[in-house]
Point group: C2
Chain length 353, copies 2
């Protein structure tokens, strides 16, 4: 395991070094120490620490600022350490989600010494666990001035394509009520599980929207993710609960998405249990246009929810851009083509220099 | 708490004494000791013990034998002890299910000294818990000759009406399969919870049979008793399981009932998880006719499943006959009108003497 990170050398080697320092959510301290030590003393960076997060920024008086963010933590190790480089593919826990992106950020922090924009780098903790533990949320509360910028780039894996904005997500519970009875005299009761059939029918018949915003196509979704009910093997149940996850395009606010779900499940008891707003792609801003130009290709919609939405909520355009296939995230086989790491570093260097 | 049971005295006082000896399933030893001590030495009874069950029988060489059965255990005490007699109603845990019936049996054992039929009394344990612990099942395995008879009377509460036979019960699991996917890309998956909507629709539309056998009307039922499914809040689930309880009239064998359920849920993966056959009312047998005549009134169908079915499976007519309203069983308020205890004792004395 590395005890020093060599930021200015090869970003691929740096990715491998980061992968080889285990940093499962909650256990990022050692990796954060290494990152802090490597960034401290890099001219022209101001470095600070927040728990297991490390922040660094330039203060060059540029007219605009770009924040680049990446989480240091990974999902639990699954017999996939240490890293292994094979045929140009780097394998290992966190290779794709998202130590490749972290390596690109660290490499840029050490090598882009005269950036066109002031830069803020945020390496944070606990992204892979429940939202209340998310290090970026803590930084937003404790060090809000560190997150102010004109553009945010979250270096989560995006196959090296600019993913713009992100969809919102909302979870609701649809609850049916009945009357308990012994199943030997079932006609004396009202079966709440039978009653959940109609909401399921509506889910089956539901046709999700596809929404084009700034040329990005967002595909919405409405999926049951849990169903539960039942008292005992001989009792007509008096309650059933269906949990539904809605992914909604960023042209809708959470309030509008909730209103829509209340219409879909009209006549039923609906409770919102979880909600994260989407983020508009913000491709109209000139600074975003510069990034898109540097990356080449066409931006696409981000369908999953990422911390991009936190930055969008702070009022700046925010995109997702990083090496690796997001479909491999959280799998035992996660890996990243090393060429994507180099390409990402080159694109961002072009944009920032 | 009584340390001696006075069998020959008032069956109502005996019921109260039995109620006042707690005997939650598994903890019947003390009550079984008292019952064993009270029966031992009663002429002309042969007494034996099986775990926390007590058995007693006459061997008078009569041409026919009647077995009377009652369980000694109760559901957990629910702030409803000791017993309380108020306005001719005896309250307390087990009053209706089924220490009133036990008291009638004990009183008859001590006072019907010249019965027309040989008699077997079975006081058993663990009826209120899972079937594998049921004391009657153990007796069937260990002391099968003790259960042989020409008629079985299970003294479970029946409002003092002869309840003939009983319905069968079967539990099945209906399972749907799908394909997991992230809900952000829901179209890549197949939602197994959505797929459980169609079986629920069939349950909603199901019209249960009503079957007349020997003048007894059996009302069948088909009820979902449990539903479950779900992987995580952001995953399209790949499995859902619906548990359904079918109560079927005793004109159908378990195999026929299963075949029926497979037709109802045709196209779905169906697994039988639990089954107890019903019992035909057997009202055609002369000895049953004598009991019905002694009781007066018209027999009715037993809708719930009781240990009557175990005796029916041994090849004898079997009925349910005891004091108290079965709808009060297992409730905190369980109680029995004392007149029903006396009436039951009188009817059975008339039949047996």
């Amino acid at each position: 395991m590395a005890d020093t990170l060599h930021l200015a050398a090869d970003p691929v080697e740096l990715t491998a070094a980061l992968v080889d320092v285990p940093s499962v959510s909650g256990d990022e301290a050692h990796l954060a120490d290494l990152v802090e030590r490597a960034l401290t003393g890099q001219t022209p960076l101001e470095v600070t620490r927040s728990g297991n997060a490390v922040l660094a920024r330039t203060n060059l008086g540029r007219p605009s600022r770009v924040v680049l963010a990446g989480h240091l933590d990974t999902v639990p190790i699954n017999d996939n350490l240490p890293s292994r480089l094979e045929n140009g593919i780097l394998h290992g826990c966190g290779a794709v989600d998202m130590k490749g992106g972290d390596a690109v950020m660290l490499h840029l922090a050490a090598t882009v010494l005269e950036p066109r924009h002031d830069l803020t780098f945020v390496f944070y903790d606990c992204e892979e666990v429940e939202a209340v533990r998310n290090g970026l949320g803590r930084i937003e509360r404790d060090l809000p001035e560190w997150l102010k910028a004109d553009l945010a780039i979250v270096c989560e894996p995006s196959n090296g394509v600019i993913e713009a904005g992100c969809q919102g997500t909302m979870r609701i519970e649809v609850r049916t009520k009945g009357v308990r009875a012994h199943t030997a005299r079932g006609w004396m009761g009202v079966n709440a599980i039978h009653a959940i059939g109609e909401p399921l029918r509506r889910l089956e018949a539901y046709e999700p929207r596809q929404v084009d915003i700034d040329g990005c196509l967002y595909r919405e979704g409405l999926q049951a993710v849990k169903v539960g009910g039942g008292v005992a093997g001989n009792v007509v149940p008096d309650e059933a609960v269906l949990t539904v996850n809605h992914r909604f395009a960023p042209d809708r606010t959470p309030a509008q998405a909730e209103q829509h779900l209340r219409e879909v499940f009209e006549g039923y008891d609906v409770t919102v249990t979880d909600m994260s707003p989407g983020a508009l792609p913000g491709l109209g801003a000139p600074i975003t246009g510069e990034l898109v130009a540097a990356a080449g290709g066409t931006p696409v919609a981000k369908l999953g929810w990422t911390d991009v939405a936190r930055f969008a909520a702070l009022g700046m355009p925010a995109v997702n851009y990083g090496p690796g296939d997001p479909l491999l995230a959280h799998t035992q086989q996660e890996n990243v083509p090393v060429q994507q790491i180099r390409d990402c570093a080159d694109v961002l260097r072009r944009f920032l220099s």
